[in-house]
């Protein structure tokens, strides 16, 4: 537990002291939302119907870039072996990084959400339900995203390989479910109306946290 906390704090320190990195995440989020605004400025569309996919695709791409350096950094700085030298278990590395990643992605999503409301002024019947769903889905996305980031950090061309590996496993599972649920929320439902769907997303969270815990050993070892 101590090790998880130490890694969590270390990741946040490293991340937030790298000002260019945080700034570029924020700027990227702005660009993504602006691109969507551009794409939908030339056609008539109903914001309520398109809000949910736009929001989730922005979360996905914004979050993806913050997932990328979390393991790669250790390899580039040569600190991965230093971690493996210590008597901690690889799963504490996974959990420390997962929690740090969740924190960063939550901040980023909040920022994207604010930008989104500025560019796409949509009416939200139930903000609480919307936030709940975002939190629940983000846990699953990050749990699996973290694991995939650990895989891609060991590959050549890791910047390209991360999205290549992420899209099929995230987009057609948890993000697709979240898009459906969120459109329902935009259309006026609250979280209790979509409980069955939320359960599926929760199951995804639990399964992939367990998968990460079990498989991270095989990824980190040389």
């Amino acid at each position: 537990m101590n090790a998880v906390k130490a890694i969590f704090l270390k990741e946040l320190r490293v991340e937030f002291r790298n000002k260019q990195m945080i700034n570029s995440y924020l700027i990227l989020s702005l660009m993504i939302i602006a691109s969507f605004r551009f794409a939908f400025s030339i056609i008539d569309f109903s914001i309520t119907e398109l809000a949910s996919p736009i929001l989730w695709i922005s979360f996905f791409f914004g979050g993806m870039f913050s997932l990328s350096p979390i393991y790669k950094r250790e390899i580039e700085q040569g600190t991965k072996e230093g971690l493996l030298l210590t008597p901690i278990s690889p799963s504490s590395i996974y959990f420390g990084k997962l929690f740090a990643n969740l924190f960063i992605i939550f901040c980023l999503e909040l920022f994207i959400l604010l930008l989104f409301f500025v560019f796409f002024p949509v009416n939200i019947p139930d903000l609480f339900s919307l936030l709940c769903i975002i939190v629940i889905s983000t846990i699953g996305i990050t749990a699996l995203g973290n694991l995939i980031s650990a895989i891609s950090s060991n590959l050549s061309q890791s910047e390209v390989m991360l999205p290549v590996l992420l899209v099929p496993v995230l987009l057609f599972t948890v993000i697709m479910s979240s898009v459906s649920v969120t459109s329902n929320v935009f259309a006026g439902a609250n979280i209790f109306d979509v409980l069955d769907e939320v359960r599926l997303i929760l199951a995804f969270d639990v399964v992939f946290i367990a998968v990460g815990y079990l498989l991270i050993d095989y990824i980190l070892e040389e």
Partner: protein, 226 residues
């Protein structure tokens, strides 16, 4: 020696069953009452799709076995099976689209869960092959691809669920295209599935052998090099 004999046996069985299945699918079975002759592609389409699921299942299983045993033999099986899986999956998607066009009027329907899952599997295993192509060492190739194969297969039930949810919000009118499956058609289908399964086993055996030979060549090169 025994292995060679087994391979020859499987190849003979595959050829025989393929010939029989061609006869059954194209000549023996009567044309479908609603869909006509177009429906005949169905026998090969279902068989291809079945092989792709089987192949991906084998990849998953071999991946688990590799992580347990760390024996590259399992990794070779996983990789070979994934490659064959992609091939048959592509064939299945193409034949399915050819069938869908005259029957549904469109090549593809996103709301159809079978099409959707097949498409997701196809993407996952293309990513799987891309991962292997970019691995830095033999061990890391085997480790990482086994882990990704396992993740990929665990994702499938969630894709299933995601599609179900999606359908609830996008209700579509289902075109009934099933018709009744006559006993002769069922028989043709079973025969072509058996034929394709033998074909799969044969290709898998050959493919694994090729990987083994590649490894031996690497070893020999190493010896020569120093």
């Amino acid at each position: 020696m025994l292995k060679n004999k087994l391979r020859i046996l499987v190849s003979i069985l595959a050829i025989i069953f393929i010939l029989i299945s061609v006869y059954f699918a194209l000549i023996y079975t009567p044309p479908h009452e609603i869909m006509g002759d177009v429906q005949r592609i169905f026998y090969f389409h279902v068989a291809s799709a079945w092989i792709s699921y089987l192949a991906f299942g084998v990849t998953f299983f071999a991946g688990v076995m590799y992580l347990k045993s760390k024996d590259f033999k399992w990794d070779n099986i996983a990789f070979s099976s994934a490659e064959i899986g992609i091939l048959f999956c592509t064939l299945g998607i193409i034949t399915g689209s050819l069938w869908a066009r005259p029957i549904w009027g469109v090549f593809w329907r996103w709301e159809d869960i079978k099409l959707f899952i097949t498409f997701v599997l196809w993407l996952i295993f293309i990513a799987y092959l891309a991962l292997r192509a970019n691995a830095k060492s033999r061990t890391s190739k085997a480790n990482l691809s086994a882990v990704f194969g396992i993740i990929g297969l665990i994702c499938i039930p969630f894709s299933f669920g995601a599609n179900r949810i999606w359908q609830q919000y996008h209700p579509t009118i289902l075109v009934s295209s099933e018709g009744s499956l006559q006993p002769s058609m069922a028989l043709s289908l079973i025969i072509s599935v058996i034929a394709f399964t033998f074909l799969y086993i044969y290709i898998l055996l050959v493919r694994v052998d090729i990987e083994k030979m590649k490894e031996e060549i690497d070893k020999l090169k190493q010896k020569v090099g120093g």
